[in-house]
């Protein structure tokens, strides 16, 4: 997977396999993590339609006909850091990254958008889903 560029169709399909085969998601998705969220890498937005802790559909460039609860935004360089096998400090996890953006007003980190209540209701499953981007990107890992 490391040979596949982040955010390509092939990359997203492999990522979907990783999420849907993850044993922790089976446990902590609780069969209830069905909140759709988007990932925005630079100018490219992909909607992840979740169903019971699995990625049901990947929707590039979602429109007003689609529905989501929250999202994560960042420039490509920040996402490239996030998916490294050993990412640098502060871009190694979503809350870490968002904190440096939202509280410390720093550039170069990821930012959460949308319904905070839904984010915290599903934090662990959502967080695991994002962390699995690192697993997918590096052909394994924890």
């Amino acid at each position: 997977m490391a040979d596949t560029e982040l955010g390509t169709h092939e990359w997203w399909e492999s990522y979907k396999e990783t999420v849907n085969g993850d044993p922790e998601m089976e446990v902590r998705g609780h069969d209830k993590f069905s909140e759709n969220f988007y990932v925005e890498i630079g100018d490219e937005r992909v909607l992840l339609e979740m169903d019971g802790g699995e990625v049901e559909n990947l929707v590039p460039n979602p429109t007003m006909n689609h529905q989501w609860s929250f999202g994560v935004e960042g420039d490509r360089e920040t996402w490239e850091e996030f998916v490294q096998e050993t990412p640098p400090a502060f871009n190694h996890e979503i809350i870490a990254s968002h904190y440096r953006t939202a509280v410390r007003n720093e550039d170069g980190h990821l930012q959460l958008t949308g319904d905070n209540k839904r984010i915290f209701q599903h934090l662990r499953a959502f967080q695991r889903t994002l962390d699995l981007m690192r697993v997918a990107h590096n052909d394994g890992g924890s």
């Binding site: 997977m1 492999s14 396999e17 990783t18 849907n20 085969g21 902590r28 096998e85 050993t86 990412p87 400090a89 502060f90 190694h92 996890e93 979503i94 809350i95 870490a96 990254s97 904190y99 440096r100 939202a102 509280v103 410390r104 905070n116 209540k117 915290f120 209701q121 934090l123 662990r124 967080q127 697993v135 997918a136 052909d139 394994g140 890992g141 924890s142």
Partner: protein
Amino acid sequence: MPENYQSGDVEPISGSYVHTEVEGVDHRIYFEENGPEDGVPLLCQHTAGNNCQEWRHLLTDEAITEEFRVIAHDLPYHGKSVPPTSQKWWTEDYTMTAEKFTETLVNLADALELEDPIYMGSSMGGNIALELADWYPERFRALIGLECGAHSPGFYIDWLDHPEVNTTEVNAYSCWGLMAPQSPEQTRRETMYLYEQGATGVFKGDLYYYSVDHDYRDKLDQVNADECPLYIANGEYDYLTTPEDGRQTAEGIGDGATAIEFAEIGHFPMSEHPELFNAYITEVLADVTGDRDEELPDVLEPDDVGIELHQQGPAREKPAE
């Protein structure tokens, strides 16, 4: 670090309860200890919403407990320190303040008759080192503030105590990213497991002190580090109180304050990567006791203390096509 226990091995940690007053109310406080009775007392404070189990690997480090009497306690309302029996504590929110926190620590040291103890705490336990140095510098031999800063805003979050949120999970996993990803997964997961044991509202109540009440940005000149040495040791991956925050805090205090960066580790050093932390803190403790000849470096790296970082993992294979 004796991690290879076998069936029948009994760890040398003992647990006890001690009574002490806080704000005029009797509290039954649980603590664990290991080390010689006449060893240098090392009083260890857990992080917000957690308990003394965070220190279990320091408590069983033979090299450290040979010289130090390591004591780790549960603050009231945390772990085995149940709420006071004389109070209707369920009729009000639990809220930690700097005054209550310092009084608890000093009264605990008095109740245990600790002579010239070293204090060490992480996160909220690190920040309180500034208040202890300001208000009680005569009571301690030295103060070690892990993940310490003059101000740590933004973590007093309503969702951490909300009836429509699974706070057991959220209180833990809002902290997941405070650890370095290269710390061993088993100990990172255990740290979160400990967080999942906290009582409702206690983590958020602690964070009132951590993110609201504690603000020393304009008061650093009040800190008496020249009377009681203060060490500020912050992990590279701590996004709340960064190593740079630690350096600025130490510079603001001046004489007696030493900032040091712990590389490749995060906000829960003693529990997220015990092997690396114990090696790092050995260097700091040697400085406290005068057993170290050289000044502490600005940054301690794993190589400096002879620790080889674990590989990522265990590697998990992607599911078959």
